[in-house]
């Protein structure tokens, strides 16, 4: 049987390669947030309270453009809805745990922790201590996200305010989206959402962003068609 300690450190070890991709985003987020006049404690709080990369970038952008708080919250909710699927996917593996464990692991259930952990759950081996692996992977990602955000905040505060850092944001989004467009349906979803986003740009409270996202998602579903 694998001991708790072994499971924990295996989780840390398996999460490590992913950190190379995560840390730059934490840095960029921290620098952009202070550049967008979000205060230092609020920027760090976004990384620890929301703790979900792309939705943090999106809310930082929206906070800088005068979106209403309600619309920001709705957008974050929609962007993070995919975590409900991760929740459903790990649920059978953690059902025997005490509520405290469930709350802790749910808080750590990011894209990156899920990817590593579910692979481990689906492998052979005694499942008794596998939640320690989940904890190791999740805590590793959490620590790196907090530290890279803090470093980014520090760097961002040193940069001159007149640098056109705002343009880094759409560029970061491009770097996130484009490699994920692997089929016709996702390209259709992205292009439609982009065009509707421009058409509805003048709508109040950035509500056009929500409309554009929903029309894009619907378009993706229509292009994909029903599964056989």
């Amino acid at each position: 049987m694998t001991t708790r300690k072994q499971e924990f450190w295996n989780g840390v070890r398996d999460e490590a390669p992913i950190l190379l991709g995560v840390a730059p985003f934490g840095l960029i987020f921290g620098a952009l947030a202070v550049n967008a006049h979000i205060t230092v404690p609020a920027a760090q709080a976004m990384s620890s309270i929301i703790f979900a990369g792309s939705s943090q970038f999106i809310s930082a952008q929206m906070m800088g453009t005068g979106a209403s708080g309600l619309v920001i919250i709705l957008v974050v909710f929609v962007v993070n809805l995919r975590h409900a699927l991760y929740s459903a996917s790990v649920a059978p593996h953690v059902r025997h745990l005490a509520p405290g464990w469930k709350f802790l692991l749910a808080y750590l259930l990011t894209d990156e922790a899920y990817a590593v952990t579910i692979t481990h759950y689906n492998q052979e081996g005694d499942p008794a201590n596998k939640h320690w692996y989940f904890l190791g992977a999740g805590l590793t990602l959490w620590t790196v996200w907090q530290v890279s955000t803090a470093t980014g905040i520090f760097i961002g505060a040193q940069l001159p305010q007149d640098w056109p850092l705002g343009f880094v944001l759409p560029l970061t989004f491009i770097a996130l989206v484009v490699p994920a467009l692997k089929d016709k349906a996702s390209v259709a979803a992205a292009v439609t959402a982009a065009l509707v986003g421009v058409l509805t740009f003048g709508f109040p409270f950035k509500i056009g962003l929500l409309a554009a996202a929903f029309i894009g998602i619907l378009t993706g579903l229509l292009v994909e068609g029903s599964p056989k």
Binding site: A45, F51, I58, S59, V78, A84, S87, K102, I174
Partner: protein
């Protein structure tokens, strides 16, 4: 709504989403269309931000050949597509913006 309240509520909703099925296992069934639709969420939301960001300057729409952000953005899409490299995409995009602004006299 204050910034802190927005952060707190957004965080609670995200946590609630992550906790949902872990707590309510077997009591809810996710419909198939919902599961398939979630795949498109990041691409749709981010794209709905990207193009308006590129197409506006000082919060005014500028869909013209004189908007340097559109060229820089197009170049960044190309780099992201060919290299899948985040930092390279950002560096090329920023450099392109500065060059288009300076050399071509675009403002």
């Amino acid at each position: 709504m204050s910034l802190w309240l927005v952060i707190l509520l957004a965080g609670l909703l995200t946590f609630g989403t992550r906790l949902s099925f872990i707590l309510l296992l077997d009591r809810i069934k996710v419909p198939g269309w919902f599961r398939r639709g979630l795949r498109f969420v990041p691409a749709a939301v981010l794209s709905a931000i990207i193009l308006p960001e590129l197409a506006t300057r000082n919060a005014v729409l500028d869909i013209s050949l004189r908007n340097p952000q559109l060229y820089a953005g197009a170049l960044a899409v190309l780099v992201a597509w060919r290299t899948k490299n985040v930092l390279l995409t950002i560096i090329v995009g920023m450099a392109a913006l500065l060059i288009f602004q300076a050399v071509l006299g675009m403002v």
